[in-house]
């Protein structure tokens, strides 16, 4: 078990080091060179020389790489070109917004996806099954930013159920502790703030949940269909066990194993989707930060940090998913 963890951690480190090397090469090969990318085309030669020295671009390439890696490891990505603030601060401000959105979206996707997938499989070939297949196909074929606008139009313009954008109502004086507004409200006992934050979360989270939801329904359905044909389910029936026990202990406990892997992989879809969803709902998280860092002149220090962070999140989540297998599948534990 320990050996598996160590091996996976090493693999993870190799992946991240390789990625940071790629980013290093990428930054060195920006159009017009890194200095021009930072200063713009009309900088004076003196300023250029100053920046080249400051960034250490006059030193041998390997020394530069070593310094770059040193800064990456300590989380020092320099200052944002756009705002001048340290990159870590800029990202730190946006991080909770995206995580809050992604977590709620994932809860929706799992909470609806698993029961729907199970029901579809149990109704194999009948109306509910066909509807769920049609729904999942539509879910993965619809551009989610369009779905976002559509939902926004219906639920905020035609019927005013939800607020159109933002994370919290203006004028609501909520205390900021962790940056996670729902959590902050609970911590400070400002429950109105929690309710308001959740109210703002619903539409964006549903939009973001679309694709993971569709995928989880599909995988759950396929997996349950496989398990239903297994001999041990017939054994369970032959024992005369109650539906509840057969469903939970014998069908779902086996059928959810592939679903767990899928959930890990959907982190990627969530991070991609967040970029689009946040723009639709003006959310102010990492996704918005990425869009702004590109369209308002390329803010490379922020971009490289965001790319590394996204990769780190994805890889770590999937590592955790794989490790959790050791606890839910006894066949893995022995190996």
């Amino acid at each position: 078990m320990l050996r598996v963890i160590v091996r996976r951690l090493l693999q993870l480190a190799v992946t991240l080091i390789a990625l940071s090397a790629l980013i290093f090469v990428w930054l060195r090969n920006l159009p017009g060179g890194p200095v021009e990318a930072l200063l713009g085309e009309r900088a004076t030669p003196e300023r250029r020389a100053l920046l080249i020295k400051a960034l250490g671009y006059d030193q041998p390439i390997l020394v530069q790489y070593a310094k770059f890696m040193q800064r990456v490891v300590t989380g020092d990505f320099g200052n944002s070109i756009r705002t001048g603030d340290p990159v870590s601060e800029v990202i730190g401000r946006a991080f909770p917004a995206t995580i809050e959105l992604a977590v709620v979206a994932m809860i929706i996707a799992i909470g609806l996806g698993v029961p729907l997938g199970y029901l579809a499989a149990r109704h194999h070939g009948r109306l509910l099954d066909n509807l769920s297949i049609a729904g999942t196909l539509l879910g993965i074929s619809i551009p989610i930013f369009f779905l976002g606008y559509l939902l926004k139009d219906v639920f905020t313009q035609n019927i005013h159920w939800f607020p159109p954008s933002g994370r919290i109502s203006t004028g609501l004086d909520n205390t900021n502790v962790t940056g996670f507004f729902v959590l902050d409200g609970l911590l400070t006992r400002e429950f109105d703030a929690t309710a308001d934050a959740l109210w703002h979360l619903i539409l964006p989270a549903f939009t973001l949940a679309t694709i993971p939801l569709a995928v989880i329904v599909r995988i759950t359905r396929a997996s349950v269909l496989d398990v239903l044909n297994e001999d041990y389910v017939r054994t369970a029936e032959a024992k005369g066990l109650r539906h509840r026990v057969i469903r939970g202990r014998h069908i779902l406990r086996n059928a959810l194993l592939p679903v767990v892997t899928t959930i890990g992989l959907q982190t990627g879809a969530l991070l991609s989707g967040a970029v689009l969803t946040e723009k639709v709902y003006n959310w102010g998280g990492l996704g918005t930060l990425i869009t702004d860092s590109i369209s308002g002149g390329r803010d490379y220090p922020v971009l490289q940090a965001l790319i590394l962070l996204a990769a780190l999140v994805f890889v770590v989540v999937n590592l955790l998913v794989d490790l959790s297998y050791a606890f839910i599948d006894p066949r893995v534990r022995v190996r």
Partner: protein, 355 residues
């Protein structure tokens, strides 16, 4: 946005690659072959009626053995309504793209005075007899742009998929054919690419270029799919390295290169073709997403659905939502078409469904 369909397939390449054709055709045939002989001998003295029926039976069983996997799959595909719907959508889409100049009532780039004179920031002319779907924000015929849009959309989707497929197949084939350290290095490389969420990878690639163009979009969407194809092909080829027909070829002294080219690659390609069909749909969606983020093709004359939806559709959603609806519906239907066709192909090729 390519995550949903493709990524699950990546981690379990066995899904698509468990299809070595000759493994199947080699199945339990001998037993079938023996039957007719033994049966007819015993039947010599029986009535002709019975004999005819058994001959029929024998022919039916012998026939089954001769059908190859692909032909068998194609036969099943033709009977599958899902495949027919998917193929029809794709077919119509391609026909519209080919005959766009004949179908479109106007030049898609021409700005009409009748339209521009009524055009303001918060009023875009709607349908009229001359312009059935009204105007776009620059006073051009929206219907014509939609029809011509099918060409560019098809172009972006196909070229991006082909580039991704080409690079991915190259990497995957090298890894799968050589194994060992070549495999190790190439797969670490794809791991790094897979560690980045698809859209973020595409965004970073676009950001590499000083300004975006149609080709930066195509290239970015293509590269996102490279690791997926590479993984898929490698998985399929590795599975075949151990399979009987490759071992047999090797035992017969067939050269390594020709084993890879003649035996392993063609078998692995069925899975790749299925994946490519599915990728066409995600490529179109991804290009639309990049346009939406302002990283798309800056050419204002270009009519492409993703561009129309992502730029004008978004900007004028409050004023004239049709500008978003029509390209969105077009994209959804076409993406659905490719997905249905791909899924039906995957199902037809799945040995589990062979009957």
């Amino acid at each position: 946005m390519s995550d949903p369909m493709t990524r699950p397939g990546v981690t379990s390449p066995r899904d698509g690659s468990g299809l070595p054709a000759s493994d199947l055709s080699a199945g339990d045939r001998p037993g079938v072959e023996e039957k007719p002989e033994g049966v007819t001998r015993d039947l010599g003295r029986l009535g002709d009626r019975k004999k005819a029926r058994l001959d029929e039976l024998a022919r039916a069983t012998a026939d089954k053995g001769g059908v190859s996997l692909v032909r068998d799959a194609f036969r099943r595909l033709r009977r599958n309504p899902v495949a027919i719907v998917g193929a029809s959508i794709v077919g119509i889409f391609i026909l519209v793209a080919i005959f766009a100049p004949l179908l479109a009532p106007h030049d898609p780039a021409q700005r009409f005075d009748e339209l521009t004179k009524n055009l303001t920031v918060d009023n875009i002319p709607g349908a009229s007899s001359e312009f059935p779907l009204g105007s776009d924000p620059l006073g051009r015929d929206f219907l014509s742009r939609l029809i011509y849009g099918s060409r560019q959309t098809l172009f972006v989707g196909v070229v991006a998929t082909l580039i991704g497929l080409g690079l991915g197949v190259l990497i995957g084939a090298l890894a799968g054919a050589f194994g060992g350290w070549v495999d190790n290095i190439l797969m670490r490389f794809t791991d790094v690419m897979l560690a980045l969420p698809a859209l973020l990878l595409a965004i970073s690639l676009v950001a590499m270029a000083s300004r975006s163009s149609q080709w930066t979009v195509i290239f970015a969407v293509a590269v996102v799919n490279v690791p997926i194809f590479a993984r898929l092909l490698r998985g399929s080829m590795l599975a075949q390295r151990e399979s009987d027909h490759v071992l047999a070829a090797r035992a017969l002294g067939v050269k390594g290169r020709s084993i890879v080219l003649r035996h392993m690659l063609p078998n692995a390609m069925t899975a790749v073709i299925v994946q490519a069909t599915l990728t066409l749909s995600t490529a179109i969606l991804e290009a639309a997403s990049l346009s939406f983020l302002g990283l798309g093709d800056p050419d204002i004359n270009r009519a492409e659905w993703g561009l129309m939806l992502g730029v004008d559709g978004q900007r004028y959603f409050e004023v004239r939502p049709e500008l978003a609806y029509y390209p969105a519906i077009a994209i959804i239907v076409v993406a659905l078409g490719f997905t249905l066709l791909g899924e039906a192909m995957r199902e037809a090729l799945d040995p589990k469904n062979r009957r």
